[in-house]
Amino acid sequence: MKKSILLFSLSVILAAGGITSCKDVIADAENPTAGASELDRKAVLTQWADTLVIPGYQRFSSKLTAMKTQSTAFTAAPTVAGLQSLRQSWREAYLEWQKVEVFEFGPAADVSLANRFNIYPADAAGIRRNINSGTYNFELATAIPQQGFPALDFLLNGIAADDAAIVQSYVATANQRRYLTDVVNTMDQLLTTVRGQWNGPYRATFVNSTGTNAGSSLSLLVNSYVRYYEQALRSGKIGIPAGVMSGVAAPDKIEAYYHRGALPLQLAQTAHATVQNAFNGRAGQPSLKSYTDALGAKDSRTGQSLTKLINDQFSLSSQQLVSLGPDLFSTLQTRNAAAVQSYNEMQKAVRMLKVDMTSAMSVSVTYVDNDGD
């Protein structure tokens, strides 16, 4: 601490005496940027439940149901046309999944939904073993990369050389038809469980847990949100394939690797747009943005609000993502530096969310006692 004690004592005396010396501070104090209503966490949670989570799962559910229908038709009578229809419905469901994976708290966390739906790269060898043996248990930790969308990616795009050969493999192998059905049905069951909770008792639990301690809804939501952006999006979709973590680029670790083409980047962009939308919410409605604004979080040097800085950074990282197109796989092979740059831009946003926003909200991440650092 600088030893400007004299100056400091003087300002303390002035502040104590007349409150005049820090009028700007106090004026600011009496005029909270916020009415109490904008610091209402229950309103934010209600918006999340009713406009983001529940309708999000609703839309995803209909895509998943469509995929299930196509899958049932395909396994009943495998044809190239049936495969292409199934693949189209898989693409649509996979894109829709990007809009709900971020909600990994409450019911989704209880069943580790993200682990069951989207851990890649898929364990192709394990999937083949499962098909051959006909016995597998999707609940096991080792089975995580043998199910979900990445497994379907392999089953629909990578299990044989071309569409005709893929169809032929389904015609030939009853076990493979059954495996495809089991993967799809497991996803359907898990989502049904999660939706049942949200449409049932959990919604009320969620919106009424208005604290900020570890385990409160805001803490679960913020931690899940930040973790998603940091781990699933920044690291999973870009950082790991670009070799940022290990020092060795690994393009084969991208999402939807067997499908490739434009889809992997579309998935990443959809995820990024989801993160932005979830932050900003609907215009004029309570959101993480409106709550952070109401807390008055800003860069005290420039006066810019934290939410503007976050949104600016979101825009930058979103633009950088676009530059990786159209084919992420070939971009990673030919100009990996652009992907590393994309990772770096997202990392800047991660920090603002994880440090500045979380600190402004005073959200706890652990239950352990703490006397203020």
Partner: protein, 451 residues
């Protein structure tokens, strides 16, 4: 002629009450810690721990850590009962202090207070009255003790409050109402008072009241006229902090510790009531049997206490030996009664570079650290350095040639936008820990004036 201060005697009841209450609180603390599963979570699960500089040999004991806590709990109970008091007090001090030294990330000021109070209890005659020892060996019972023995505890409690108050005399606390301005709105869902927390003026009122309270309460507790009001303030203040902040047992420890300021008669009445509950004979008619130390023993004890308190008075000011902002560098921050002063949060990502190939990896901290450890490390330079050294050794064992470790850091303090904390170009693998200022901590570029 009035006897000198060091020849004055006072009833032993305050020491006895303190001993019993303190022992029971520590016992409760141990049981709570155990029941919450924290022994496992904090001392068994992590692969790496943050020892204190100079105490690197103090580590968790694997599954025997449970035994350590058991010893601590048993000693606390024995202290409360006054059974084999001296040995129990020693055991309590050693086991509790060992536990606190195992990992910096669990540092709490009130644990430090407990260690210091336990150390004092080893030397104070708190086991000679209202204790099983006194009952079993009546010759060792003493109804009165030298006055300085009670005043030593009062001085310790007084220092805690007063220094906590001094630490609040800074511009962030008084002129910006930080960090309460961040913390209070997070509690705006409390019944009745919650909505007040939306207004920064509330944070100002709390900040100023808190500072004045800490600075003055020991003195108001000393005075007979102000004592009841001061103690009421103690209870209200600490209950409020218990409701608002996740500070565990601290409020209760202080509520109990502040009883030491009450007059001996009050403590004696309390003990009489306890005796009545347990159907023990009243001590009202008991003849006075003061504990009179041999001059040499008294001199040794008083000298020891004087040294102890000189250290206590000076250690919190050691930060003045460091050139830069205390809240930012945290050089000299711990062991200084700086409680609830900062909202500090950070993120740190480590880069490991192979000196031979130049290959760069990034570390997933959570592969090595608990949530609490990672959170604590992210804002404290000495812990970042310790973890960097651990990573150096870990990756060297993995076959990385002379790993270079760089920290990419981002820290926010009291509502300021985050900024880089550690020089990202400095290879932490080659920096050594010491008490010297750490030149690789980047400048704060802002000023917090005050003490």
């Amino acid at each position: 002629m009035r006897p000198s201060y060091f020849q004055t005697y006072t009833p032993a009841a305050p020491l006895a009450v303190f001993r019993v209450a303190f022992g029971l609180l520590i016992l409760a603390s141990v049981v709570r810690f155990w029941a919450k599963g924290w022994i496992d979570e904090l001392y068994l699960q992590p692969r790496f721990f943050f020892p204190y500089y100079g105490f690197e040999f103090i580590k968790p004991l694997g599954p025997y850590t449970y035994g350590l806590f058991a010893v601590c709990g048993v000693c606390a109970l024995l202290v409360a009962l006054g059974w084999h008091y001296r040995l129990a007090a020693m055991g309590l001090f050693l086991s509790f202090t060992y536990t606190e030294l195992m990992d910096k990330s669990t540092y709490l000021n009130h644990y430090y207070f407990v260690s210091l109070a336990a150390l004092l209890l080893v030397f104070l005659p708190a086991g000679n009255y209202f204790s099983l020892d006194a009952q079993r060996q009546p010759a060792r019972e003493h109804t009165h003790v030298p006055r300085w023995t009670v005043d030593a505890l009062r001085l310790l409690v007084g220092i805690v409050y007063f220094y906590a108050g001094l630490a609040k005399l800074n511009s962030d606390w008084l002129l910006a109402a930080q960090p309460l301005r961040i913390w209070l709105p997070a509690k705006n869902d409390l019944p009745l008072v919650g909505s007040l927390f939306n207004y920064p003026i509330t944070a100002f009122v709390f900040s100023w009241f808190g500072a004045i309270y800490d600075l003055t309460v020991p003195f108001f507790l000393l005075n007979r006229l102000t004592r009841p009001f001061a103690y009421a303030a103690v209870v209200v203040f600490h209950v409020l902090t218990a409701i608002l902040f996740p500070i565990g047992m601290f409020p209760y420890v202080m509520i109990v510790a502040a009883l030491i300021f009450f007059p001996p008669e009050w403590h004696e009445r309390l003990l009489e009531r306890v005796r009545a509950v347990f159907k023990r004979p009243s001590a009202a008619q008991q003849p006075a049997t003061p504990l009179v130390y041999r001059p040499r023993v008294q001199l040794a004890l008083v000298t020891g206490l004087a040294l102890f308190f000189v250290v206590q008075l000076l250690v919190p000011f050691r930060y003045a030996l460091y050139p830069r902002e205390l809240f930012w560098t945290e050089e000299g921050y711990r062991f200084s009664w700086r409680v609830m002063l900062m909202e500090k949060m950070g993120q740190v990502e480590f880069k490991v570079v192979d000196s031979a190939t130049g290959r760069t990896r990034r570390v997933n901290n959570s592969d090595h650290l608990s949530v609490l450890q990672e959170k604590m490390m992210a804002t404290q330079a000495d812990m970042i350095l310790q973890f960097a050294h651990y990573l150096r050794d870990y990756y060297a064992a993995q076959g990385v040639h002379q790993p270079q470790i760089y920290a990419d850091t981002y820290v926010s303090l009291n509502g300021r936008m985050g900024r880089a904390y550690i020089d990202p170009t400095v290879d932490l693998a080659r920096q050594a820990e010491s008490f010297a200022p750490k030149p690789w901590i980047l400048p704060f570029d802002d000023e917090i004036s005050g003490l």
